[in-house]
């Protein structure tokens, strides 16, 4: 039984890769549409879009001061729009059409050849492309947490456009589009490298290049509305079911197990964070528990289709613990003003998860099992290569993009604009008039 499932999982992976390589062929084959699987991926697409707008927008928006809340919401929303149009124009093609080991081609630019009848596996290609788009949206949206409250809107917009093109699309191709990491056997079920390490490391570089906010680190952080943040975190959790269980591209046992381990990892990481705070400060906080939950969701992302319940539990506990400490190290030790802790939560959490995926995929630990002839050691090795490759590429690439954007329009809002707030200074608006 387990064996069969493992085979199914691997076959899916291979098929997916194959379809991405020879998409016209795939369409030609006219695999029979599975309405159940299609229904679930349509739903998952809605869930993952929901993660960014309004989920992430609220999660982040509540953490900034009220004079900057609209700027955060606006950044999430405009990234959603911009990435969608670029996806249509060429980014989907770069990520998922046939190309080389590094990047896809332009054969599907402007969704050329993607018609009502095109299929990816047993779901319509339109559904696959939309589902993947929601991942391409949330990844740059995660980065904005690093430069919140001080980046110019124009710079953010330019950065996102370039970043999607030269960082996201290739990295997605490496792992899921038939590129070298996938071929090497790197396991990333739902985006530990592509989404979280990618955005987390880029975020760190952004935070360093943009520099600290006025008042950091003397002034205490002042989240203006934690109810908004808890609401956003809850939406992220629910939406993540689509993110991870949707990545099975089917409504089956793999999807079910992915949802289960996703949920358990989140719960475990949240409680881990809560108990650390409780024992360290005598009180557990709402922001703490939701941050832990998000960390747990990040950690399980690469592993979600590969590990069993115990794997989910352990990954949650470990990610919660490591991310808790990472936040402190970045903020207090290195005094880097990664405003909303994107690197310690997404970057570090993604790395922990990618590593542990190599361990808990083992059937002895309840996972689907390692591929034929691959030892745990070599799988972990492959995972490390994929972590390093993604981190280096994203980090160096983001640095160069930031320099280019700086030269073009300037990265930072003026000191006065920052002090008055980005809402009035960048958008001529204010969040509240209550």
């Amino acid at each position: 039984m387990e064996n069969k499932i493992r085979r199914v999982a691997w076959t899916t992976l291979i098929l997916l890769t194959a379809f991405s390589f020879w998409p016209s062929l795939a369409a030609a084959a006219e695999a029979k549409l599975n309405a159940g699987n299609t229904a679930w991926i349509l739903t998952s697409t809605a869930l993952v879009l929901f993660m960014t707008i309004p989920g992430l927008a609220l999660f982040y928006g509540g953490l900034v001061r009220s004079k900057n809340v609209l700027s955060v919401l606006m950044q999430c929303f405009s990234i959603t729009c911009l990435v969608s149009i670029l996806w249509l124009a060429y980014a989907y093609s770069l990520a998922f059409s046939s190309g080389n080991a590094f990047v896809g081609g332009l054969s599907k630019a402007f969704f050329n050849g993607v018609s009502f009848g095109s299929m990816t596996g047993d779901i319509p290609e339109t559904v696959f492309a939309m589902f993947q788009l929601t991942f391409a949206i949330i990844t740059p949206a995660l980065i904005i947490g690093a430069f919140a409250e001080r980046m110019k809107f124009s710079a953010m917009f330019l950065f996102t456009g370039i970043w999607l093109t030269v960082i996201y699309a290739p990295v997605a191709h490496w792992v899921w589009g038939g590129g070298w990491l996938g071929s090497m056997g790197a396991l990333d079920f739902a985006g530990g490298t592509v989404v979280h390490i990618n955005s987390g490391v880029s975020a760190l570089v952004c935070a360093i290049v943009l520099g600290k906010r006025h008042g950091f680190p003397e002034q205490p952080p002042s989240p203006h509305n934690l109810t908004m943040t808890v609401t956003g975190a809850s939406m992220l959790w629910v939406g993540w079911f689509g993110f991870n269980a949707g990545s099975a591209l089917a409504a089956d046992g793999a999807a079910g197990m992915a949802m289960l381990v996703t949920h358990m990892s989140s719960a475990a990481a949240a409680l881990t964070w809560m108990f650390i705070e409780w024992s360290k400060f005598g009180k557990p906080s709402a922001l703490g528990i939701v941050t832990g939950a998000v960390a747990g969701l990040v950690g399980i992302t690469p592993a979600s289709g590969f590990v069993g319940p115990i794997g989910g539990l352990v990954i949650g506990v470990v990610t919660g613990f490591v991310c808790f400490n990472a936040v402190g190290i970045i903020k207090r030790k290195f005094q880097i003003d990664d405003s909303l802790d994107v690197f310690p939560v997404h970057g570090v959490g993604g790395m922990v998860g990618a590593l542990l995926t190599g361990v808990f995929v083992s059937s002895g630990l309840g996972g689907v099992g390692l591929a034929e002839g691959v030892s745990m050691g070599s799988q972990v090795g492959i995972q490390i290569v994929s972590i390093i490759a993604t981190a280096v590429y994203a980090g160096a690439g983001s640095f160069i993009i930031l320099k280019i954007v700086d030269a073009m329009v300037g990265l930072r809002a003026s000191a006065e604009d920052e002090q008055v707030g980005l809402d009035p200074s960048q958008h001529n608006e204010s969040g509240y008039e209550i």
């Binding site: 205490p220 952080p221 360290k280 906080s285 922001l287 703490g288 936040v327 402190g328």
Partner: protein, 112 residues
């Protein structure tokens, strides 16, 4: 005619209001403010770090009263708002030159 400003702890508002009502103070105007004083701000948690928040929520009550009632009012407020702990707040008594009632145009103590 005086104006009395009392800065108190928020949860004491109802008691103060009732106590003042009992001695016939018919009106007041209340503002939510932030206080800064000897009472140390509380610590807040933020992702694994503790920060001291300087400002504390307080309630500011503004009461217009005839001069002869001022002492009774101050005493009443002290009794109702006192917890004995630091941060209970202040009472300020200020001179007023005139008061008018917008509805009628009445002036002075008739306006209160």
């Amino acid at each position: 005619m005086k104006k009395i400003i009392a800065i108190i702890k928020p949860f004491k508002l109802d008691e103060v209001k009732e106590a003042l009502g009992a001695i016939g103070v018919a009106g007041m105007t209340v503002t939510e403010v932030k206080g800064f004083g000897r009472q140390k701000g509380h610590t807040e948690l933020y992702r694994g770090s503790e920060y001291v928040v300087d400002f504390l929520p307080k309630i500011r009550i503004e009461i217009l009263a005839e001069s002869e009632k001022v002492d009774a009012i101050a005493e009443t407020i002290i009794k109702a708002a006192n917890t004995g702990k630091i941060g209970d707040g202040k009472i300020i008594i200020m001179p007023v030159e005139d008061v008018l009632r917008i509805r009628t145009g009445e002036r002075g103590k008739d306006a209160i």
